[in-house]
């Protein structure tokens, strides 16, 4: 590894951290755009002036916005996410178990979706313009149009209600045996997989096709290499970066899908926690969870970019 790569990777990470900081400002500002007053909107129009004043003081609303921002940011950096308005519980404590649940669900979906999508993408390229390719493209088109809850409730309707193979509500608890836990998340994980699969497949197909149409692939074919060697030695090294990119982007989609899927299956994760507290207008919780989602999303994008930097021979072997 030579120094320009290290420099570029360091730059990309620094840029990501800067972006995360800017995002925290944006999320904070996003919760301040209400024309009225947070305290008023929490308590409603009928609140007494004393109650309002108390809540304002409790929320620190008498400070200017930037002071409140830095207080909040300082808390976040030291692991203190504040307390939920609706329940008075410490947010960091409530989140811990849920974050783990959500990561477990997303990971399970990714483990199935990523290899499957790459395999199907390769198949589509191998039988390009044939029936397999057409079917795959058609499914991809359809699935980008399907709302998550349509896929989710179809699964519930057939596999939980009609066939009764899996539970329609994914209850998990601490100390649950691993296999039971897997069975509980079978349907939500399947739903999530289906949500990202087609898109990832389509993008993988495009990435590989792009490589396969390069002139150096023709050179390899004209050397008399077998199709397997052409792909292994000449297409694959150049396709890694675009494929990693595709995977990371789709994992980012997966995060968004998680929110709706968790609500469908009443799964105790971050998504459901967020939605519940948006409805309760519990601003500190929404800020904290929003920031965590954004951080994961930015992190995945950084990984994708770093993979592209490392895989680029021009950067690995500068002139």
């Amino acid at each position: 590894m030579s120094s320009p790569i290290v420099k570029l990777v360091a730059q990309r990470i620094a840029l990501g951290l800067l972006l995360l900081l800017a995002v925290s400002v944006l999320i904070f500002a996003g919760t301040q755009i209400l024309p009225g007053d947070v305290a008023q909107s929490i308590l409603g129009q009928s609140a007494t002036p004393e109650a309002l004043a108390n809540l304002r003081a409790e929320l620190g609303l008498n400070d200017p916005a930037w002071v409140r921002y830095f207080k909040w940011l300082g808390g976040v950096l030291t692991g203190d996410l504040g307390t939920a308005l609706s329940s008075g519980q410490d947010i960091a404590t409530s989140i811990r178990g849920r974050l783990w649940n959500t990561l477990f669900l997303a990971f399970a979906a990714a483990v199935v979706a990523v290899p499957l999508a790459i395999l199907l993408g390769l198949l589509a390229v191998r039988y390009r313009n044939g029936p397999v390719d057409k079917i795959i493209s058609g499914l991809a088109l359809a699935s980008t149009s399907l709302p998550e809850f349509f896929i989710g409730y179809l699964l519930v309707f057939f596999f939980a209600v009609k066939l009764q193979w899996f539970p329609g509500i994914s209850t998990v608890y601490d100390g649950m045996p691993f296999l039971d836990r897997l069975k509980a998340i079978a349907l939500p994980a399947t739903a999530l997989t289906l949500v990202v699969l087609a898109h990832m497949m389509r993008m993988t197909r495009a990435a590989i096709l792009n490589v396969m149409q390069s002139a150096y692939i023709e050179t390899a074919e004209l050397k008399g290499l077998s199709p397997f060697d052409v792909i292994r030695k000449h297409a694959f090294p150049n396709a890694i970066a675009p494929i990693v990119n595709v995977v990371m982007l789709n994992l980012a989609f997966l995060i968004v899908g998680v929110v709706v899927v968790e609500v469908i299956f009443v799964y105790p994760g971050m998504g459901q926690y967020l939605v519940d507290h948006v409805a309760k207008r519990d601003v500190p919780v929404v800020q904290a969870v929003g920031l965590i989602f954004a951080a994961v999303y930015i992190g995945l994008n950084i990984v994708a970019d770093i993979a592209a930097i490392i895989a680029n021979p021009r950067l690995r072997h500068p002139k």
């Binding site: 999320i27 980012a252 968004v256 929110v259 948006v278 929003g290």
Partner: protein, 276 residues
Amino acid sequence: MLDIRRIPIGALIGLILTTLFLLTAIFAPLLAPYGLGEIVGDVWEPMSAKFWLGTDNLGRDLLSRMIYGARVTIFIAVLATALSFSLGAILGFTAAVVGGWFDTLMSRFVDLLMAIPTLIFGLVVLSVLPSTILTLILVMGILDSTRVYRLSRAVAVDINVMDFVEAAKLRGEGRGWIIFREILPNALSPLVSELGLRFIYAVLFLSALSFLGLGVQPPQADWGGMVKENKDGIVFGIPAALIPAAAIAALAISVNLVADWVLNRTTDLKGGRGNG
């Protein structure tokens, strides 16, 4: 130039279905057999000659609600798309042609907005804003305009460096001629196809918000909200929630088919040998 026999079958189906959905939305009060909030039967009655799609969780006619729901869903999605499109396209074109600090500032701000998943940021903002249809349109329109901005800026930047635009600049043409006569006609086809995709996205976004209970509020109802109302029936084997969900999928697929066709036609115009 457009010959109906030459439209591929998929795009034709898409066109017909899209038109049907639009007509349903426009003429909803004439088509619906019952009123929107009218309780006409038992809870979750099955499909019958009286209630074609059965009844919902409160005993209201599902077909009538679907027809009114089409109106709300399409109305909000159309307005949000119109907003995102005009905002994104105007700013994107301007940034590409003007360049300089305006371009840098706009592009960095859009990067920032796009660093947060749209649904997540939408939820953050909706946690403090009142749940009205106007808020929904504004939030959806503004958040989605970032994508339109990126596309139109990229397209316009590409065209802006072409020799024919340089030729027009050397002729002494003004900025108006360059944007509207040289760049816009060449940027139109990719943008039209993007319009379809943005509309689908708006429908799906709105449905997701309503499904989560944060979009259209009762007594108004859109399709996503109707999924939410009837979702508890699923566990009892009552598929009422699947009907509005399927309608959303059908609308999105139809528009997608049309958009895909428009996009393919655009690439075809470049001609050449081999298409795959």
